[in-house]
């Protein structure tokens, strides 16, 4: 009863996507009667994240849940936690092999590159030849992996098709429309999250191309689900972050109390959300979905 777990993410404070996970942590901790502390590097600096893992280890919790944003950086600190006898579950980014290498119990999530690749294949099936990857967070390695995966899925070189838009929505919107204006033959767009998807929707609505280009995005938000319904967005890749928050807490609690744990990694995604299944997720998008 009352075990303490620490959840370490790589996202900066203001990344909205992680709210779903935070909310899942709240639900799981109250259901299981444990406390879960959510930690993240304020600016998203992964070296800071490693320090946080070390800090969590030093505070000797009943378990650590961490993402593998960069295997190189996190291998040492996480392995050290494992060696100190702290059960570790890895979630979100990273691969199953990396997770095993660290000595974690299991991995819940889906690697960024593979997700991008799957999206690319889907776009290819829709006939996309020339695309635009709207990267609102280019300094984050995962973002580039998604774009790269998408390009490889389409089987075209990435080249200049990824643009660095920054976070400001007006700038994102205007950069996207400038790009589309200068590259009129673009027939596919991939956005990396609500921060890039929502201004892109606005840009497409404004220049009348909404529904004309194949538009996919990562993650969900209220704006994205609305756009899926009206056909502006073809699909959203949902890795069901709720599970990435909820499951590890439940599993670790049971492991701590009864020593039981599933032996294999769990894939929380990729789930493709399209017009057909949007009704299910719409209401909870951004909170629990």
């Amino acid at each position: 009863e009352g075990e303490r777990f620490v959840f370490v993410s790589h996202a900066p404070d203001s990344d909205s996507w992680w709210n779903t996970i935070k909310n899942a942590l709240k639900v799981a901790s109250s259901q299981m009667g444990v406390t879960v502390e959510y930690r993240n590097p304020p600016t998203g600096d992964l070296a800071d994240m490693a320090r946080i893992v070390e800090q969590a280890t030093a505070s000797n919790p009943a378990g650590i849940i961490s993402t593998i944003a960069d295997f190189n950086v996190l291998k040492g600190p996480l392995a050290k936690a494992v060696e100190q006898g702290i059960p570790v579950i890895t979630v979100n980014s990273g691969t199953i092999e990396e997770s095993k290498d660290i000595g974690a119990l299991l991995h819940i999530g889906q690697p960024e590159y593979a997700a991008g690749f799957a999206a690319g294949e889907r776009a290819k099936a829709a006939g996309v030849k020339k695309f635009l990857c709207v990267n609102h967070y280019i300094t984050n390695p995962a973002s580039v992996q998604r774009c790269q995966g998408f390009a490889d899925g389409l089987n075209v070189p990435l080249g200049n098709q990824m643009i660095d838009t920054g976070l400001d929505p007006s700038e994102v919107k205007n950069k996207v429309s400038a790009y589309l204006r200068a590259n009129a033959d673009t027939d596919g767009i991939i956005a990396l999250g609500p921060n890039s998807a929502e201004p892109t929707i606005a840009a497409l609505k404004e220049n009348g191309m909404a529904g004309q280009v194949h538009f996919g995005t990562f993650d969900l938000s209220a704006g994205i689900s609305a756009a899926i319904k009206d056909g502006t967005i073809a699909f959203a890749i949902d890795q069901q972050p709720y599970l990435q928050g909820y499951l590890p807490v439940v599993l670790l609690t049971n492991y701590a109390r009864y020593g039981v744990i599933p032996p294999n990694a769990i894939n929380s995604g990729p789930g493709f959300i399209t017009k057909d299944n949007i009704a299910l997720v719409e209401k909870l998008a951004g909170e629990y979905r």
Binding site: P12, D13, S14, D15, S16, N19, K22, N23, I138, N160, M162, I163, D164, T165, L167, D168, P169, S170, E171, K173, N174, K175, S177, A178, Y179, R181, A182, N183, P194, N195, E198, P199, A202, E206, N207, G208, M209, A210, G211, Q212, S221, A222, G223, G286, E287
Partner: protein
């Protein structure tokens, strides 16, 4: 007294040396450059026009505030955090608490201007450099923004503001466009292109003048008038040029500075409101690094970082340069990660040019 020891200076040269000269040259250069490399990319078609004008207008809104504050001898690193903060407050009030949009907007303005005043009062009372005080506020406001939005909505992005503000008279002042009819007519007579396909076929590609641009123009005119024409403007110059000297002759320096901090906060809030009303959502990470961008515009526009010298027109031109360069690189198809490299280079070149011009004006050495 030293007249006959002055070599002659041509009157043309004298007429030309003004704070914004560097920025004017910059604008000409930048336009010439992009006309050459991206002239046929649609950058100078009506829709392209609107594209970079909107971005420039955004910069201009915060640059006007930063400009007046900088001339008054202080600066504000919390502008970016203030933008995020204002947006989230307004969104929480309308969406979560269900207040009417006009009330939420007014309260947001009041809160933010109040925070600007606190910034100013801290600087004045403690005598600390504004760099430090506003750096602290950069962190405090950003932290509060994230904390508040998570506390009240369990999200750092709050959507649905547009729906909540639908039909509100005050919200319409920030979102939306004006002169719709005029542009429809322009489209009808073929002066600007119309959409040929999609849901909006037949409508002109430029729907109207976005309120963002209206605000920018309004603030530039107001700022220029205030600074160049009024008594208060003279006090702004005086406070920044030498606060002690200004105090001696009876200029209420403290009041001027606090008011300028408040005005900067006002501009940041206008920026935030326009953005929230246009996109319908507020997020805790809005406005990141905008404080630097505002300062860059102002400095490109010829203002002196240490205060007492500069012009609002210059700052507006600086914002125009910034916007055109940023968008132009996309039109020109340049590798977008090189944008920052360009920006840095332009900043240095512009400032060197401005310094040279200022030395000519003031005989400073």
């Amino acid at each position: 007294m030293t007249d006959e020891r002055l070599m002659p200076v041509s009157s043309l040269r004298r007429a030309m040396i003004r704070p914004e000269l560097g920025a004017i040259c910059g604008v000409i250069l930048v336009f010439a450059f992009f006309l050459m490399v991206a002239g046929d990319s649609g950058m100078f078609a009506p829709a392209g026009f609107q594209n970079w004008l909107v971005v420039s207008a955004q910069f201009a809104i915060i640059a006007v505030g930063a400009c007046l504050l900088m001339i008054a001898g202080e600066f504000d690193l919390s502008v970016g955090s203030m933008i995020g903060f204002a947006g989230v407050i307004a969104a929480i009030l309308t969406v979560q608490w269900g207040w009417p949009a006009w009330l939420a907007i007014l309260v947001t303005f009041a809160v933010c201007i109040g925070l600007g005043a606190i910034n100013g009062l801290l600087v004045i009372r403690t005598g600390l450099p504004s760099f430090i005080v506003t750096l602290a506020f950069l962190y405090i406001l950003r932290g509060l923004t994230i904390w508040l939005s998570i506390l009240t909505t369990r999200q750092t992005i709050i959507g649905g503001v547009r729906e909540a503000a639908e039909g509100d008279w005050l919200a319409a002042l920030f979102g939306g466009v004006i002169f719709k009819g005029f542009f429809q007519w322009l489209g009808d007579v073929g002066l600007i292109d119309t959409f040929t396909r999609g849901a909006r076929a037949g409508q002109p590609v430029v729907e109207g003048v976005p309120m963002l641009i209206v605000w920018a123009i309004g603030l530039i005119i107001f700022g220029h008038w205030l600074l160049a024409k009024t008594r208060f403007g003279n006090w702004i110059f005086a406070s920044g040029g030498d606060a002690q000297a200004a105090r001696y002759v009876g200029v209420p320096v403290n009041r001027v500075k606090v008011l300028m901090f408040m005005f900067t906060a006002f501009c940041a809030t206008v920026f935030a409101m326009c953005q929230v009303m246009e996109f319908g959502s507020a997020a805790a990470d809005r406005g990141l690094l905008k404080e630097f961008e505002a300062i860059i515009c102002v400095v490109i526009g010829g203002a002196l970082l240490t205060g007492g010298y500069g012009s609002v027109i210059g700052a507006a031109l600086g914002a125009l340069i910034f916007g055109v360069v940023q968008q132009g690189l996309f039109f020109a198809g340049a590798e977008s990660s090189l944008f920052r490299v360009f920006l840095g280079t332009i900043l240095i070149l512009a400032v060197i040019m401005n310094t040279y011009i200022r030395r000519l004006i003031t005989g400073e050495r």
